[in-house]
């Protein structure tokens, strides 16, 4: 018999998985641009109980350039977490698929297993194309998984996904308004520690590390002077130099979790 694309994408037991699970999961690629050969990698992990009654949630990590599979699935909200040996898995008891069907997407091309047959695509990614390709991905993905057409849909993520999430949400809302369709039935989104506005994000960062006592008064003043009007990513050399001084003063701490010992 000929397997459907969905059935072909079904994942059986993973290497290093020494436990049974009571949910199905699927992974594979969806082509978002036939001409250039752009394809995005996804991993759908269905809800542990009664997936048909649960919403669909798309999880996105940031970077830009970081993997939702590598971070979101494997160390944050997914059920399959990896032990320090890098080979065996354990079940995350707080996996979010207790409450929803979770779809991890690596976008844009170049992230994780997502790829393009046109190598220059890796040098021309950006906010607009990521939103457009992600919308194309969703519209094609629900053709493979029609049971999710019109299903209550949410987008959640963190960091630079503070750009991806509202931008993709806007693309979905505008697509639905233009087409009169509700295939992607977006109900809401949730962003954690996300980039929202360069100016506010910079000011808030400098105040945070100054008020917690991580940097000196002089460096706080220097940061505001050199970086206050700079983009949050890819800032000027003068701003980067000021940031370097702040990093030295903060010492060998984990900036992503300031009271956690740095990983050595």
């Amino acid at each position: 018999s000929v397997l459907s694309e969905k059935e072909q994408n079904k994942v059986s037991k993973l290497p290093g998985q020494n436990f049974n699970v009571n949910f199905a999961h699927y992974s594979g690629f969806v082509t978002t641009n036939e001409k250039l050969g752009r394809a995005l990698f996804y991993w759908l992990i269905e809800a542990a109980e009664d997936p048909a009654s649960k919403p669909l949630v798309l999880w996105l990590n940031g970077g830009p350039g970081c993997s939702s599979v590598g971070f979101g699935e494997a160390e944050e909200i997914g059920p399959f977490h990896i032990k320090p040996d890098g080979k065996t898995l354990y079940l995350n008891q707080y996996s979010w698929n207790q409450a929803a069907n979770i779809l991890f997407l690596d976008a844009p091309v170049g992230v994780g297993f997502s790829y393009s047959n046109t190598s220059s695509d890796l040098l021309t990614n950006g906010d607009k194309r990521t939103a457009q390709d992600s919308l194309t991905f969703l519209l094609k993905w629900v053709e493979r998984y029609p049971e999710y057409k019109g299903r209550e849909f949410y987008i959640v993520g963190e960091s630079y996904a503070g750009h991806y999430i509202p931008q993709l949400s806007q693309a979905i809302v505008r697509h639905n308004q233009a087409s009169g369709e509700n295939t992607i039935n977006l109900k809401g989104y949730m962003v954690g520690n996300g980039l929202m506005d360069d100016r506010q994000d910079q000011l808030g960062l400098f105040q945070y590390i100054w008020t917690l006592g991580f940097i000196s008064d002089q460096t706080y003043t220097l940061l505001k002077l050199q970086c206050g009007l700079e983009p949050f990513i890819h800032s000027s050399e003068a701003c980067n130099n000021a940031l370097e001084i702040s990093y030295k003063e903060m010492g060998n701490i984990d900036h992503y979790s300031v009271f956690t010992p740095a990983c050595v």
Binding site: G70, G86, W96, F113, Y154, H163, D198, L205
Partner: protein, 148 residues
């Protein structure tokens, strides 16, 4: 350190086979972040606050949360950005609770719900998994977090 474990696991050929990644399209080295992509990012909006206004008007449920131990995009940044949205508040400011402990603080604005997660870093579910799951359940059900 968990990031290092992912870098080992997802480079295993048997894992790539299990996830239906054909060898001919697999990257020569799978990595958690692609720095070529990052360094060659073309268009980066300086602000997405205008999109928030558009989506709030469209009736989309929007929650913004922040782990308060993050020095990359800290809670102060998020507060300034929300302040710039100029939304009116619709609930009193106050803590939310989990297992009798303060999980963080929360504020409902017109069209947006703000939640902090106490002790969490940039990756909130990594360091505060139980609190993050409670937050997620509240978000998808559209119900407030426990205030007592």
């Amino acid at each position: 350190c968990t990031e290092k474990h992912s870098k080992v696991y997802f480079n295993l050929p048997e894992v790539q086979r299990a996830l239906h990644v054909p060898p001919e399209v697999a990257p020569s080295k799978w990595d958690t972040c692609n720095y070529v992509v990052n360094e060659n990012w073309n268009d980066c909006a300086s602000s997405v606050l205008d999109i928030y206004h558009e989506l709030i008007a469209a009736g989309i449920r929007i929650w913004v949360f922040s782990g308060d131990a993050d020095a990359v995009v800290p809670v102060t940044s998020t507060r300034y950005s929300i302040d710039a949205l100029n939304l009116s508040t619709t609930s009193p400011y106050g803590p939310w609770y989990i297992d009798g402990q303060v999980g963080g603080w929360t504020q409902q604005y017109a069209g947006l719900n703000f939640v902090t997660v106490r002790g969490a870093g940039h990756e909130v579910p990594l360091h505060r998994p139980k609190e993050a799951l409670a937050l997620f359940k509240a978000f998808i059900s559209g119900t407030p977090l426990l205030s007592t």
